[in-house]
Symmetry: C2
Subunit: 349 residues, 2 copies
């Protein structure tokens, strides 16, 4: 065949047109068409449209902050969220709780051969909406397709880059008397995913708290609050955050049992399923530590923002006791709060 017999790229045949095939991930024509037709129109912007090996970004005025998270949640959609918005908010929140303004996100998809293209499009719509809401741009990405049976549907890994805007000394600086706030009711994400996966019918359905936290943290910064540490209570829930902080500072975290914010529906589900909301994952709820005496002002700032309108003071840091985290139960006794060894709930995020 000589050159004259050649022809410019016809649209490639990729089997059933609603299915992802291996060719979508192999770097050739099918992949370029897929990126141009399916991904760019939904999540694209000027930087992503360059489709280079890497995104060249504007200079940063300050310290860069960098994070990554993989999302393997099952099912892909659940009341209040989906893997796409989770992947954006999860990474944006990791930047925000480190005191950074989230700016740029990378999106790496691992798809199973045969995955529904229209389902992927729905998920990419959610990604785009979430990015818009969180104020971030998707600037670079990758798509791999794994043969049938080697990955369950879709996994997403997002990384994020932001710029440091709020200096916090971190959990090592915690000292007795510091006050512990929580930005809203606990355990909503974990319970929502569990209920969706196990097809437990709660009426109304329990909704995940999957939301961006930056505005709440920005409200604290603008109010001039000296925050010591912030952490979003994802895997392992509030219990895991408090255990990590106790280890970091060598003090004990005391939680007032009657102050723990839990919605009636989550409380009911936890009782039914024998779970403790303190161990359940949140995806838009954070723990904040502030110096003694500044909790009222901090709560006032938090409550002005929708995502943290339910913020409350939940406890304080005390001198080291025998247990790193204790809960004051209604009878007044301090009961140790176990650190989750693992979790009853795989694939929660």
């Amino acid at each position: 065949m000589t050159e004259d017999a050649g022809s410019y790229c016809p649209a490639p045949k990729v089997g059933n047109s609603d299915q992802i095939t291996l060719t979508h991930g192999e770097g050739g024509r099918a992949m370029r068409h897929f990126l141009r037709r399916t991904i760019l129109p939904v999540v694209g912007n000027e930087i992503l449209a360059e489709m280079g090996d890497a995104a060249i970004l504007p200079p940063l005025d300050g310290q860069p902050v960098f994070t990554t998270d993989s999302f393997i949640v099952s099912p892909l959609f659940f009341p209040g969220g989906d893997i796409g918005s989770l992947a954006i908010y999860g990474t944006a929140n990791d930047l925000a709780v480190a005191g950074a303004k989230p700016l740029w996100i990378s999106l790496a998809l691992i798809l199973e051969e045969g995955f529904s293209l229209s389902l992927l499009e729905r998920i990419l719509d959610r990604v785009a909406q979430a990015a818009h809401r969180a104020g971030v741009q998707i600037v670079t990405g990758d798509t791999k397709v794994a043969p049938r049976g080697t990955v369950d549907g879709l996994f997403i890994t997002t990384s994020g880059v932001g710029v440091r805007s709020y200096l916090m000394p971190g959990p090592r600086s915690l000292s007795p008397g510091d006050e512990l706030l929580v930005s809203g009711p606990l355990g909503r994400h974990g319970i929502a995913v569990l209920a969706a996966r196990e097809r437990l019918n709660f009426d109304p359905p329990l909704r995940s708290d999957c939301e961006p936290l930056f505005d709440a943290i920005e409200a604290l910064r603008q109010a001039g609050i000296e925050v010591k540490a912030i952490r979003d209570a994802t895997r392992g829930g509030v219990a895991a955050v408090l255990h990590e902080w106790a280890e970091a500072c060598g003090k004990t975290m005391v939680v007032e049992g009657d102050k723990i914010p839990i919605t009636e529906d989550v409380r009911g589900a936890c009782e039914l399923l024998g779970l403790d909301a303190l161990h359940m994952a949140c995806e838009g709820t954070m723990v904040v530590a502030v110096p003694s005496g500044s909790s009222d002002e901090a709560l006032c700032a938090l409550r002005r923002v929708p995502v943290s309108v339910g913020a409350v003071r939940m406890g304080l840091v005390s001198e080291q006791r025998l247990s790193p985290v204790v809960v004051r139960r209604v009878v007044g006794q301090l009961v140790p709060l176990d650190e989750p060894a693992g979790s009853p709930l795989p694939r929660i995020c």
Copy 2:
């Protein structure tokens, strides 16, 4: 149980001690122990040791460059490389070919329940060695464990941040007469992985070219070469790079068939398997476009660096012809080079 009955974290029981269990990915004590004992000692540094939600980095003097890639290669080890070094070099190279000095890498692991802990440790050793060689630091990460059967062994997603050091106008700027160089023999990665997966016994075994490219690009920069575009020839091989460039600039890429560098063993394997080395993936080989007349100087700079000692001039950019990429075969005819529609080789990286 009152506080006195509590006790500080004993090492958690996680089943067969050489197996990854779901608890390793659930954000609790088992995960923290796993990170402290298995991950930090191998790939750690001051920034990663903070174990925050995100890495706070020193300010960047210049434009940040950001990239991501997932790695689902099978098998996990192959002659000349493994998933760990591939994940580091792949991402570092994506930064380097965009004109950036690679600085920081994020490492997100998705592990299958039951995966061998000692195998993971071997892979993390390779990650650490590769990071050292590529001059990057692993500053943040994530570990998820998916239930048995929902992921095949181990997938790794790395993202990278670097600082722009070398300005290139990119493939849209290519014009007739520009010369096309390639930094070494083609197809070594694709053939090595294929041979390892299909247990084809070549003697000696075909080795992947999995290597960092930054030094080669830095040699061009230091020699003052005005480079127009660089791309590493990964999925889809050199053919995919040339097709993307042809589309970007609207010109035709002409490859001199007798100049294509291929090792004897790759040539033999390609003939045996009916594959074209121009379509096979490389992981440490790049295509470089330089203005007419500067190829000798560029080759001289490249050949001073071990990774690109085999650099050659492979072709040039011509006015647009009927086919976007053509190869001058030995008889002198220009034969169109197909863009790979997909690839015969899933899970090559």
